[in-house]
Symmetry: C2
Subunit: 200 residues, 2 copies
């Protein structure tokens, strides 16, 4: 099915969702029409599948960036600063748009089993990546987690999704309160070590 | 617009979303077709509007129930027990279905301004109701909040929405960890008083 998605992605980039022509994609990919309809339920399902794929790529890129940044910090406080900077960066209209786009994709995927599975798979991969980062920080003595690192990684994922509940208000004040309180929550779970130079 | 929604609700109850006939609803309600299309964008928008309305009714009923229960407790610990019982009650398949249904409604409403506004209004009303309950508990000396009660009420709303990020795993273990950690977070923000008999 990855062949059809490659072609669908190109079609979507070139023509956009309104002029997206599923028959052209099927012809170009050489995949059978019945197989495409069986897997994705039709045109909208194929578009959703491309969006899910993009979401996964984006998340992987973000995780790689975060891992790189975290590897360069030397204290738990710096870890928290990096996380807080990330949360602040997602405070603007673009961050809100990304969250609402994500909810639209999740909702569209709900009735297409192959997409539900892709999204679940995406969550698992993202949670594992975050778990590994937190494990790395713990092994370097930067944080002293009060809960299992897997549970904290999954909890952080629920916090980030929950933030979308505030987006409808478009209020900087509410969002700032959410960041402040979330940092308190993370501080409680992660127990950062105070700033000090690395001994490496 | 409440007249069209009353009729649409009855139509939906009787015929379901597939056989829902928007022309019949328009005729029976006596509202002009152009006005319905202007406000809701069409058939799907009217169905979404009914679902938003149901969500609001449900939330109001839940809040009323919670207020009644909270009025009868005599300590902060009992307050937290009531909240935890509520979270556990929403652990099953029905709870998951309600959360995924909610996400579908929010996503459908995103492109219909009148529904976005209804949902924002719903959130405000729910947040105010929760704020009033927490204020009541604080005034009775049951909790000693570390943050403004409004901020805590909004934060709780983001926590509950975020829980949906776990539903895709259908894992009782993950959900139990979320409840345990969330109760720790709430305990931190609410600072419940220890159990004691009310002095009233």
């Amino acid at each position: 099915m990855s062949r059809i998605l490659d072609h669908a992605r190109r079609e979507l980039d070139e023509f956009g969702p309104v002029k997206f022509n599923i028959m052209r994609v099927i012809e170009e990919s050489g995949v059978s029409k019945s197989s495409v309809y069986h897997h994705f339920g039709g045109r909208d399902g194929v578009i959703s599948a491309v969006e899910v794929q993009r979401l996964i790529d984006e998340r992987m890129a973000n995780n790689a960036l975060l891992a790189q940044i975290l590897a360069s910090v030397n204290s738990g406080e710096e870890c928290l600063d990096v996380i807080e900077a990330g949360l602040r960066a997602a405070s603007n209209a673009t961050g809100r748009k990304n969250r609402s786009h994500r909810i639209a994709i999740v909702a569209a995927a709900q009735h297409i089993p192959v997409l539900t599975e892709s999204l679940a798979q995406e969550s698992r991969i993202a949670d594992i990546a975050l778990t590994e980062m937190l494990n790395g920080a713990r092994d370097r003595g930067l944080i002293n987690p009060t809960e299992s690192v897997e549970d904290i990684a999954r909890y952080m994922a629920t916090m980030f999704i929950g933030r979308s509940a505030l987006d409808t208000f478009e209020s900087e004040e509410f969002d700032a309160a959410w960041i402040r309180m979330s940092m308190g929550v993370l501080r409680g779970f992660l127990q950062p070590s105070p700033s000090k130079k690395s001994e490496n």
